[in-house]
């Protein structure tokens, strides 16, 4: 890697070059016959999922189907009780997996910029951490709120801070657990566009757990439907970006997924 491409990899938007997982076909992670049991309750069973680096994967399912558990395995919050989970090569200068929760989970006693710096724990500190945090806050449009307390922000703004915190360490994999579920419809669409824009710029591997089928087909390259702990459908979304919400193509895919969920 040349110095120039290194610099491009560190900067956040700038180039259309894929800074992460730049080698085509490289794998981000793979589940092999992975299962998870809590006591005698089997939550996930025989999951086989191979995800190439840079892919935007959406995971859909009814509540209680095990989709959040899948994400927790991925984030290392839980361990599979059977089978395996392997990751691709870890790249230097990147945190491996970052997690975005359903709730913003900001520290109320830390300013917005300090909250974003939490995402750099063990990566950078001091003036460098602050600068990187301010840069990413600019990306999510909150640079002018850097020194305020989280309690004065709206719900959508808090989730944007949480997104900035997740992304500031340039993760290879970003796991999102219904992070937009609690937002109102308009803020939600805005957040989806922001997420897509940043994903295109930074090209991390995104795993979005959602119960919103329209959101899944609008954002993802690939949609996986989980039902009763197993993968019931694995569907590519071969639609060019930028995608037009409500287009016939997306609607057709949405219908197919809904049929599978309720058919």
């Amino acid at each position: 890697m040349t110095a120039a491409s290194l610099a491009a990899a560190r900067s956040f938007v700038a180039t259309p070059v894929r800074p992460i997982g730049s080698v085509e076909g490289q794998r981000a992670f793979a589940f092999r016959q992975a299962g998870k049991r809590f006591g005698d309750k089997t939550v996930l069973d025989g999951i086989d999922l191979d995800v190439p680096a840079g892919q935007f994967l959406a995971v859909i399912g009814k509540s209680g189907c095990g989709k959040s558990t899948l994400l927790r395995l991925l984030a290392g919050l839980d361990r599979p009780t059977s089978g395996s989970l392997t990751f691709g090569v870890e790249e230097e200068g990147h945190s491996r997996t970052r997690f975005m929760f359903q709730e913003p989970r900001l520290l109320p006693w830390a300013s917005v910029v300090k909250n974003v710096e939490v995402g750099l724990t063990g990566v950078a500190s001091g003036a460098e951490a602050r600068q990187r945090a301010l840069d990413i806050l600019g990306e999510v449009g909150l640079a002018d709120r850097a020194d305020e307390w989280p309690s004065v922000l709206s719900g959508g703004q808090k989730q944007r801070v949480a997104l900035a915190r997740a992304l500031v360490g340039h993760p290879q994999i970003l796991a999102l657990d219904e992070p937009l579920g609690a937002l109102d419809a308009l803020t939600r669409i805005e957040m989806q566009q922001l997420l897509e824009r940043i994903w295109i710029a930074q090209k991390f591997t995104a795993v979005l757990v959602t119960h919103d089928v329209a959101e899944a087909v609008a954002l993802a390259d690939r949609v996986v439907v989980i039902s009763e702990g197993r993968i019931a459908l694995d569907l590519d979304v071969p639609v060019e970006r930028p995608r037009r919400r409500g287009s016939v193509e997306l609607a057709r895919l949405e219908g197919k997924i809904l049929d599978r969920l309720f058919g």
């Binding site: 984030a75 290392g76 919050l77 997690f99 989970r105 520290l107």
Partner: protein, 258 residues
Amino acid sequence: MSFATRLHSNAIGWLLPALVIAGWEIASRAGVMPANVLPAPSAVAEAFWRLTLSGELVRNIGVSTARALAGFAIGGSIGFALGLANGLSTISRGLTDTTLQMIRNIPHLALIPLVILWFGIDEEAKLFLVALGVFFPIYVNTLLGIQSVDPHLVEMGRVYGMDRRALFFRVILPGALPAIFVGLRYALGIMWLTLIVAETISASSGLGYMAMQAREFLLIDVVVLSILIYALLGKLADSLARLLERLSLGWHPAFQNG
């Protein structure tokens, strides 16, 4: 809130005490209130001046304050340490919490006879009682504060790679701080209360001792003066705690715009 309005709202707080004192003075001068029941405020002020000039007042306030602070430091730090330990470790909590809750239910002032037998009327007796009185509110509230820290935030800290030290200083301690401050203010009240009682019963110096001596010689003005000084010292301690609270809890919605 601007400085002027803050001054204004503080002034309102002092209006009522000022009115009470004025009414009291008028009642005393009119002879409604006999001087051997309650001396006039001007007589109390005179006693204040007399004792200030003789140096007696400053010395006794100094002695009492030193006792209060020393007892507070000992009891408070043990309570804080145990509260932290029991909040962070289930082993430690299992081992000590039941015992502490049993001791907590004994009114610490009931131990005075025993304490006098153990320590006589020396400094240790006062320190012991104050430390014991201060210990529980600090312990209970520190423990409560740590237990009430949002587990979601702790999980977030872990996921984002904080080690135990960072987790403690950046998530757990700040989260527990509001409850710890409640304990602190409560403990400051108990600190003065305990000290007054202890000094009144057994002491050879200090404000309580000064009041008891005055009672022997029927100097009611000095007795009233001691009581007023206790009130002022209590208020001073509370104000300091509030100031600390405002400085360190600026993030808390209850302390914003205020």
